[in-house]
Symmetry: C2
Subunit: 677 residues, 2 copies
Amino acid sequence: MSRDEDVQPIALADGRSRAVIENIQPAVDGGRFAVKRVVGDEVVIEADCFADGHDMVACRLQWRRAGEPAWRSAAMQPLVNDRWRASFVVDSLGSWEYTVCAWVDPFQSWQHDFARRVDADDLRVAAVTGAALIEQAAQRAARHADAELLRAWSRELAQAAGDAALSTEALARIGSDSPRAAVANRYPDLRHAFTHPQVFPLTVERERARFSAWYEFFPRSASPDATRHGSFADCEAWLPYVKRMGFDVLYFPPIHPIGRARRKGRNNTLNAQPDDLGSPWAVGAAQGGHDAILGELGTLADFRRLVQRAAELDIDIALDIAFQCAPDHPWVAEHPQWFRKRSDGSIQYAENPPKKYQDIYPFDFESDDWRAMWEALAGVFEHWVAQGVRVFRVDNPHTKAYAFWEWVIVRVRALQPEVVFLSEAFTRPRVMHRLAKLGFSQSYTYFTWRNTKRELTTYFTELAQGPGREYFRPNAWPNTPDILPAALQYGGRPVFMARVTMAATLCANYGIYGPAYELLENRALRAGGEEYLDSEKFERRVWDRAREDSLAEFIAVLNRARRANPALQSDAGLRFLAIDNEQLLAYTKTSADGGNTVVCIVNLDPHHTQSGWVEIDLATFGMQPGQAYQLHDLISDAHYLWQDARNYVSLDPQRTPVHVMELRTRMKREHDFDYFL
Amino acid sequence: MSRDEDVQPIALADGRSRAVIENIQPAVDGGRFAVKRVVGDEVVIEADCFADGHDMVACRLQWRRAGEPAWRSAAMQPLVNDRWRASFVVDSLGSWEYTVCAWVDPFQSWQHDFARRVDADDLRVAAVTGAALIEQAAQRAARHADAELLRAWSRELAQAAGDAALSTEALARIGSDSPRAAVANRYPDLRHAFTHPQVFPLTVERERARFSAWYEFFPRSASPDATRHGSFADCEAWLPYVKRMGFDVLYFPPIHPIGRARRKGRNNTLNAQPDDLGSPWAVGAAQGGHDAILGELGTLADFRRLVQRAAELDIDIALDIAFQCAPDHPWVAEHPQWFRKRSDGSIQYAENPPKKYQDIYPFDFESDDWRAMWEALAGVFEHWVAQGVRVFRVDNPHTKAYAFWEWVIVRVRALQPEVVFLSEAFTRPRVMHRLAKLGFSQSYTYFTWRNTKRELTTYFTELAQGPGREYFRPNAWPNTPDILPAALQYGGRPVFMARVTMAATLCANYGIYGPAYELLENRALRAGGEEYLDSEKFERRVWDRAREDSLAEFIAVLNRARRANPALQSDAGLRFLAIDNEQLLAYTKTSADGGNTVVCIVNLDPHHTQSGWVEIDLATFGMQPGQAYQLHDLISDAHYLWQDARNYVSLDPQRTPVHVMELRTRMKREHDFDYFL
């Protein structure tokens, strides 16, 4: 029987190894993929560790940076039902790994039994056993002083066991010497220890992977002069504006030469005029491909200077990596084997029959020359990393082979562990999760189309509490250049305020496509569609940032609230609140240490004032029934005094459709109340 | 970076393999342990299978008996959200295994696109591509006739593509030839197929592993003559009684010579008298150990005859394997190295300080001679298997090394795959589950101490729906020789009826310790304890089976109901019903095919009539609001007509505290109603 053969050698090899380990958490697909954390995080690991019988089990968490020869370790502490826990802090970027080791501990078992013995003869017999175990610990002791201490204790206990004149109580005291037992427990007998064979990977990124605010912007529109194409120099002039709004990632659509062949005209028309700029996602022309820069934007030196200027403001310039080629991309001629051929010998353009996208050639990931193609694509990331780029938004990663992403992300991070990858995959759930597992730092979400209270509650509960919480970091966008959702087309300013508030507070990572967003752009190309009219994808736009109705200051307030409140800097700690109005959404976010809580209320109805009674679970925040507590609205700067679990809220969309309120449960001084009573 | 090195070779090797497979279910601990089924079961397997992009993915389930060189396979069918499903039937006992294989299918992708093309030129170009794909399928075709058919289709399609006179519609028809496409799909292009590397184990047992009724009985008490020790010949005379009650496993406590040294007296006293029989669990004496038979019971030939007689009635004789030794067990002298030594050189008896069990020596699973010890213990099972035993109840398996059980169960099953193992571990949840994962067919449960509606509902919902459902088969016992629960001590006959009914209907496997149970034995050794007074563990008892108040006939009715209703033969399909009385427990069990449903109502209060309104979810059983349906009480033979979701029930504990009713939703003839209207 083959199972017999399968199992016997394993079991026989470990015959005397009695401890077992199950259900190590966190783990993504049993350790196939990495759990994600950021530098400085405390990584809490739990496992079920137990053995047969009644002997005492001990276990330790083992961890190291990947590649280190030795494990670091910490004793795990028992919870209930054979569950154990320990943690470690990840203090540097890159790949880490952990596992758990467990064993039946003879010395601890002896301690446990010795303390319970009452019969004098038994105690003497047990004391001799204990003396031998302590002597063994002395032999394992790494520090000379510990060895000496243990040898002395062992001798003392053995002599006491043989001293018939010594009282049972005195003997028991000598054997139950907690300080010396603690020393002995530093040197456990690991001969039969079992180390879990699965090593669990952990990716540690910089904090921006977990907490970031993105501003998407077309450099072509950066020029203040309506007649001139924007340049990187123009973009520099926008940096203070972006900084004032509080964004820390400034993301550009592709900056490469744009294909001439089959170029699209304004509003996605097929008959481009000579002066039409085309879509930046039609990457490549005679001037170059994915490592070149569109001439109108400037030179590589200009780009590097922009990246440097942004860095001085703690802003990352994010590039858009769209792995596809315009027909005149140099690679099409140089490496025709990287593309599929049609039966007529022409190169297969992108299509989804009957739709055709003849200006785009997708790569063929089943190409026989895939190794060289992977190298070339990895080279694109490496080229831009060399220019100082640390954040990449990847266009449609779900149309490229998964194995490639797993390989290339590891490779780029080995070069530069600060790199953050955002997966732009608006597709099926399993596919989006797979990309996150493969290593993307952040992922676009369905938030863009989640509008009702039920939709939002279900979706964000799943994101915060589902298995994806260990690897899928949502990045919520209320709009993108491809998506002007119906709600924004018809809801007016209140919807723009509500949607960006939800993105910024439900998600630690969020972004907007501006200035279309803060300038309330809501004109669609076609009714029923989601394409912008006069989209910047196909033409330059001139934006009047000084408009009075701009949401720039509102967004700046939101981003300040995010920076001031740790609760808003992580996706954990989200909890929806009961509120008796289907048009009102209420939720709290609480920081990991419990020290900071933000209460958000959103009026989902852009047309009418909505009011209701919101229920706060007092016990969650350590409050008593009847207790009063303060809420400080970070948008309006108003202060509210609430009492007990149910409190009244009312939101007029024509003023501000949201509350974003810091919860203060403990008043520092009595007169803190005076301020608003 | 070591992660880099870890991942690159894997990814590179599979560069063009674009399909991925996740979350194959069922799986126990990611495939570390076997899923359990019985012969004849349809094993349904699901997995997430998908690829990048928009190409069509196909996948197949692969399975085989362990050790077979080739996989059998079946195409998986898509459900929703990239979930796929297929099944196979296990038609023989033993170890099986399965995995999933997925691939991007070029021919199906072509079919999908071809059917959507409208442009005539595109259609011609695509037809040429299709002809080439069909020709490739022809080359892979195993059957000559299929190859011929595909070659003809390929030629036809290629010619049609080149025929400018042919209409677009005609060309589309030739390419969209479903019958011939089905043939092509039998020979997919698997060059880039991905087979999940984990092979998932599956243990197939006989039906009795899933559905059994156990009767525990002390052979020492089998004699009808109060002055004589019972023998196997006496046990033969009990077989018709056991058969009439409907049990199919007759389980004996250990049948071996009983230790003389430190033998326990009646009622677990320390001063045994010369004529005291001792505890059967004190295994071994001068006459022999685990492979010997206590002289008073008879010879090996007597035992074999009893096993044979029982088999003729389709009753399994189950032996109790208690791996521990009395001090005079031959192994203690022959293999002292299999036991722990105390520091005074004596052998360590069982203890849990300050408690001592000096009549029992446990084995030391950390013995340096563990290999020989494992062989000897395996030999015990093998010896009794050679005598025809096919069911073992294992005493306290949780005090022996887990690795030993995994090894020995595989070994015994390789010898005789019919063997069923019951784990007698009343201990912590993780430990009980581990033993089940290691291969035990059935497991004792906490049912013995679950009394209230909430306790019973929570526990049995977890057993039926939790992850354990794939490997943990509960076996519910209302009593054992070690446990006379408080409820039975004080509740009288109604509790005996209610508890055995719940065991027999909540669990497909259940057992009682008789005749103590059917004869309502409720005298405890000490108030507040669970030990029987005058326990058969330490003395013979004489039972008057003819007593008028015996529950034997009630139990016979219960077991007939179990045999007649497939719903009661599996632990799946359990659903608790709302009923507005805390003393009434209501639940349904439904067979896998939905064709059989049993409704059970239990009055948990032994003192008062309880009544309430029970709610049936009509939709679950395919019924309409307002519909009438029949319930046939299998205990009382009464028929009830219920209508709509809420119906009234009332149970008088002094009559029968339970309803066990077959639900009949579809009346065969109109006049089926007449009978009880």
